[in-house]
Each structure stands twice: as C-alpha cells, then as structure tokens.
C-alpha cells in the first residue's frame, strides 16, 4: 500500500461478483397498443368467420379479447398484482368508452336530424292553420309557452327558495330548521309527474279551474324550489363570517346585513343556481302535459286556456308518428336542447366569473 491510499487504483484480485438487477421485468411501453391492435384484428377475424354483420359485436369481441390478453400476458411477464392493475385500468377505460358512445350518439342524432328544419320560419310560426300531415309549421307557440310558464314559475319559486335558504343559513337552529332541511332534500327527488298530479288534484279538480299555463307554472315552481334552496344555501355558506360580523359590529341590524352585505356577495352564485334550476324545469314534459294540455295555436295568456310548451310539442309531434311530424319533433328537440345548454353554459360562466375565491379544487 502506498502512502496515499485514496490515490491507488483498485487492484483487481478476484472476479467481480455477479450483479443482480434490482429492477423487475416490465412490459414495454408500447404493449397496450400492440395488444389493442392484435385483439382488434382477432375481433374482426372472428366476426367475419362467424358471419356476424354488426360491427358493434366485433367491437365487443375485440374489447373482451383486449382485456383477456392483457391479463394473460401481464401475469406471464410481470406478476399477478401488475396484471390485476392493468385489468383495472383497461376496465376503467372501457367503462368510459361505453358511456361516451350513447351520449355522443344522442347529441349527434339530435343535431343531425333536427338541423333539417330549424330556421327562422320554424322559430317564428306556430302550427295554426295546418293539418298535422303537412310539412312545415313551427314552434313559436311552444317557445312562447315555455318562456311564459318558466318565467311565472321562477317568479313564484325564486323568492320562496331564496328566503328559505336565508332562513336555513342565517336563522335556523333547531327542529324547524332540521325538518325544513330534510324535506327540501326529499323534495328534490319528487317525480315531476307527482308534482303535476298534485296541482291537478288541488287546482283543477279541487278548485275547478281549467287547463292553463299558470297551473303548469305552479307545478314547475314546486320542482324548482328545492333546487334553488340547495344551491343558494351553498352560496350563502361560502360568504365568510367575518363580513357578517364586521357589519353587525358596526351596528347594522341583522336583516340589513343580510340584504346589503351577504346577498350581494353571493349574488353571482345565486343567479347561477336559479338559472340551472330554470334549465332543469324547461325540459319537464309530464306536469305540462297534465296541466297545460297543449294547443296548436298561439295563446299568449298563461292564465286562461291551454298552451303549448317546447317539450310537450316534441311529445305531441312524436305521437302523431308521420314523417313530417317526426321531423318537427327532432327540430323541436334541437331547439329545446339548445335552449337548455345555452342556459347551462351561461350559468356556469357567471359562476366562474363571480365566484368568491374560495379555497378548494
């Protein structure tokens, strides 16, 4: 050994021990793509051999083969735990694909078949003066009816919903508040036809009024109230307590605190909630069918006489069954879905724009 052992070169005396790699064998990164290709090919092959025409069946066989081959190959190359992990991954991806397909099909069919008829004429004329077998006609009466019924329902439901939410957040402690919360939750689940039957039993059969847009609005208001209460409650809870306490400490009475401090802070979220509720009830058919009855002519008075509404229009045209009517049904469906989607996007846009910057996801 020399004086400076660090500067010595290591002397090779024995052969080096055999190194064991600490990394396990792994499937290469391109293996899912390869297995997908193989199973697609096998799926098409089996489908052709068995003489099945439907390409969906080929796709299903290919998906099944993909899952099976992945599991088998992975448990051979790696181990069973990894195989189960890959199985879970492929199952989850397949779930997603399975769900996307009908929803994309729905959107595509509606746009495709509905766009044929939707134009300015369609949106501004009603079905007056036409027999049902003719082509043409429009949806104006239904659009007007929907706007009026939904507008009246909002006028009824939004104040009550807002005040109830204020009660639950600002005032309620105790059994009444607990009962109200529980029943609001339960009310969100009332089937729309039950709300329609109630207004029927109460307004038409009990008090003797005939069909009208207003009766439909009452049923829609019943459906709208719990949604407004829930979303307003969430928004009010997001307002920081310091704001309320600062206002109260300055001597402002509680009701003015709520009206002038809490509500303006959360007004963006409340508007969003109300708009989402509107979008939900705009698409309700069942109570409208029972209470508003349907009318091919324009009836601008929601308080007397039958009216039409967009979803009811779609249903009535569908029931007629002939080609012209089905075309109109699809066009009406496209109008309805456009209306609902625009409301939804607007509402969510307002929410994002006006959100109090709360922590979270």
């Amino acid at each position: 050994m020399s004086d400076n052992a660090l500067m010595d070169k290591p002397r090779i005396t024995d052969p080096p021990p055999p190194t064991v790699s600490l990394a396990r064998r792994r499937m290469p990164r391109w293996s899912p793509a390869l297995i997908a290709l193989v199973s697609a090919g096998l799926g098409i092959g089996v489908g052709n051999v068995a003489g099945w025409q439907s390409q969906t069946q080929w796709g299903l066989i290919a998906a099944l083969l993909f899952v099976v081959i992945t599991y088998a190959v992975t448990s051979l190359v790696e181990d069973t735990r990894q195989a189960k992990d890959r199985l879970a991954t492929s199952v989850v991806w397949v779930c997603f694909a399975v769900a996307v397909v009908p929803l994309v099909s729905l959107a595509w069919t509606t746009v495709n078949r509905g766009a044929k008829l939707v134009d300015g004429y369609f949106l501004s004329h009603s079905m007056g003066g036409m027999t049902n077998l003719e082509e043409g006609g429009g949806v104006y009466h239904a659009l007007l009816g929907t706007l009026e019924q939904v507008g009246l329902a909002t006028v009824i439901a939004a104040p009550i919903g807002l005040l109830t939410a204020i009660y639950l957040v600002e005032y309620g402690r105790g059994r009444l508040a607990k009962a109200v919360t529980f029943f609001v939750d339960v009310m969100t689940g009332i089937p729309s036809i039950v709300a329609g039957l109630f207004v029927l039993a109460f307004w038409n059969l009990g008090l003797g009024f005939g069909p009208s847009g207003f009766a439909g609005s009452m049923a829609l208001a019943i459906l709208m109230m719990p949604v407004v209460v829930r979303s307003t409650e969430e928004m009010l809870k997001l307002v920081p307590n310091e704001l309320r306490e600062a206002s109260l400490a300055l001597g402002v009475p509680k009701w003015r605190t709520i009206l002038k401090v809490v509500l303006p802070t959360s007004i963006g979220g409340i508007t969003t909630g109300v708009m989402l509720a509107i979008a939900r009830i705009a698409g309700e058919t069942a109570p409208v069918m029972l209470l508003v009855f349907g009318n091919p002519l324009i009836n601008p008075n929601p308080f007397s006489g039958a009216q039409e509404s967009l979803p009811l229009y779609v249903w009535n045209q569908y029931k007629l069954g002939n080609a012209a009517a089905i075309d109109r049904a699809w066009a009406g469906a496209l109008t309805l879905i456009a209306f609902v989607m625009i409301l939804n996007l607007l509402a969510r846009g307002i929410a994002r724009w006006k959100a109090p910057k709360a922590a979270g996801r």
């Binding site: 989850v92 399975v98 729905l106 969100t188």
Partner: protein, 335 residues
C-alpha cells in the same frame, strides 16, 4: 392561606343599586322581526306544500280506491271504466322495479368506473373538462332521451334482443314470446334509464372520490402498491357510503321517469316474466299514457297510482339523503 380565607369568607352581598339603566332600543329591531318572520314563513311554506301534496293525493286516491273491487296493491289489471271498476298496481310495480333494477345493474358499475377514470386515471388536464361535460349531460331533458330511445335505440336493439332470445332463451327471462317483435320492452327501458341516470351517479361519485384522503393514497403508494391496489384499499372504502347514496339518487330518478319510458314502452298492459316482450307498464308511464282518455274516476285511479309512486320515491330519497347526511362534507347542490 388564600384558600382557607376565601372558604370561610361570606358569599358576596347582592348589590344594593339596580345597576346601570337598560339602554332603550337595544331590543330586537322591528325590521329584524319582520325579516325573520318572512324567512321562517318561507321555510314553513315548503313544509306546507309537502303536506299538501300528501293530503290532496291521498284524498283523491281514497275516492278511487274505495270503489275498487279488487285489491289495489296486487291486482294485475287496469280497468277503472269497468263495472265494477277493477284496477291494481301489480303490473306497474313489477315494471317499475324491474326496469329500475336493470338500470342500476348497468349504470352503477359504469358510473363508478367513469368517476374513477376522472379522478384517478385520466390525464389531469382532461379531468376538469370531462367532469364539466358530464355535468352538462345531466341537464339533457328526459323527452329528448325518449325521442332518441324510441327512434334510434329501439331499432338498434332489435338485433341484440333476437340474439339474446337465440342464445339465452333457455332462461325464461330472456325468452321472447314472439321473436322478431320490436324491442319496446322493459329491457330496452332499463337500458335507456341506465343511460339517463349515469350522469347523476357519476357526478356524485366523482365528488366523493375527489375528496378521498390523499395521505392514505400516498401511504399506500409509498408501500409499493399498484394504482389499483391504492384505489381498492383507500379510495373505495372511503367512498362506499357516497357510492350507495349516489346509486339511490339515481334509483329515485329512474323510478319516477315518465317521458322516456312513455316514448319507448309499447302500451300493452300485460304481465310477463319475459323481459324482452313488448308491453308492461310503469307507474309514471301508465299515468302519462292513460291520462288523456280517462274520465274523472279514471283520473282518480291514476292519482292513486301516483300516490304510491310518491311514497316510494320519498322512501328512497330519504334513505339516500340520510346516508349522505352522515358524512357532512358531501354537498348536495348538484345532485
């Protein structure tokens, strides 16, 4: 020392003077009382509406049931115009329950899969837009699902139903009485309902999975678990009650679905265990289909079936909210 002194001292004398005079106007502001009263009144209005729904429906239903000649809860026919009137909800209960069960069997696993996909498997930049899209899909009106179901899904499923009849017909369930009849059956309704309730269940379940504690997941990863093992051990047990309540919310919606079922189901009113046969009925669809031709007594009979539907959905939704209520962090605003 200190203690003995205070323990032997006499209790403090009550003050002789009455203290500072009470400040006037310190009592509750009248505006407060009015506002509090108004908001309390709104809350009470909601309770009154619920009670009124129960009361009016029960009254009308009792008018009809009292004249029913067969047992309302078990009879298998619907003939309120008959003499004597005979109507019962047997078929309706069967159709509603079976279609909802089929919908749940299909929708719940797929919804949990999608929720897991959005929360754990999808690339992060894709996750938020995907959640957004599913939210939008929950807003599509049911009549549009019905239109798509009747005009697109039914012809599409004709092939599947004949295949099922061919290969699985030995189970009575998948046997068709007349092979080749259109697929307007409870089975198709179940599939359509599954597509409809999928967004709702996915939304609530996704909220639940996004709130699973990251510490547990990271601990599992640190111990060398694969992604699936992490999910199996820390995400799914945490979210179990959320999944159950989401499923029940979806079930509640499936039970009450009217227009989608009414467009797809063919109106024959017969009871059969062959799920692929057209015909049968559900509560809501029966009301929608028979309402226009019904006379006053027929209407009361339909209201009676509506009352049964109301009670069922009340129970299901109450149970779902009770389960969710035990975990306060799940908000119900979007469900």
């Amino acid at each position: 020392m200190e203690n003995s002194r205070t323990s032997t001292a006499a209790p403090p004398e009550p003050p002789d003077d009455p203290g500072p005079a009470p400040v006037k106007g310190q009592a509750v502001h009248p505006g407060d009382k009015i506002f509090r009263g108004i908001s309390r009144g709104s809350g009470i209005t909601l309770l009154v509406i619920m009670a009124a729904i129960a009361a009016f429906l029960s009254y009308r239903a009792s008018l009809a049931i009292s004249k029913d000649s067969v047992n309302f809860l078990t009879a298998f026919e619907w003939n309120p115009q008959g003499d004597p009137p005979a109507f019962g909800i047997g078929i309706l209960a069967f159709g509603t329950v079976v279609s909802s069960v089929i919908a749940m069997i299909i929708a719940v696993p797929v919804a949990v899969g999608i929720a897991l996909f959005i929360s754990h498997y999808a690339p992060r930049r894709l996750a938020a837009p995907l959640g957004y899209v599913i939210d939008l899909l929950a807003a599509v009106p049911s009549i549009i699902y019905g239109l798509w179901g009747a005009l697109f899904l039914v012809p599409y499923l004709d092939g599947l139903t004949s295949w099922l009849d061919q290969f699985l017909g030995w189970t009575t369930v998948f046997e068709m009485s007349n092979p080749g009849s259109p697929a307007r059956s409870i089975f198709t309704v179940g599939i359509l309902l599954a597509v409809m309730i999928l967004p709702i269940i996915t939304n609530v379940t996704r909220e639940v999975f996004l709130q699973s504690p990251k510490m547990y997941e990271e601990a599992a990863l640190a111990l060398g678990a694969t992604r699936w093992e992490v999910i199996r051990t820390s995400v799914l047990p945490f979210g179990r009650s959320g999944i159950i309540s989401a499923s029940m919310l979806g079930l509640g919606r499936a039970l009450g679905e009217t227009m989608a079922v009414a467009t797809v189901l063919s109106p024959g009113f017969l009871f059969t265990l062959h799920l692929l046969d057209p015909g049968s009925g559900t509560f809501a669809q029966n009301i929608a289909a028979k309402f226009n031709e019904a006379d006053e007594f027929g209407r009361d009979a339909l209201i009676a079936s509506g009352l049964v539907l109301f009670v069922i959905t009340l129970l299901v939704n109450g149970a779902a909210r009770y389960i969710i209520g035990r975990r306060k962090e799940y908000s119900g605003a979007n469900a």
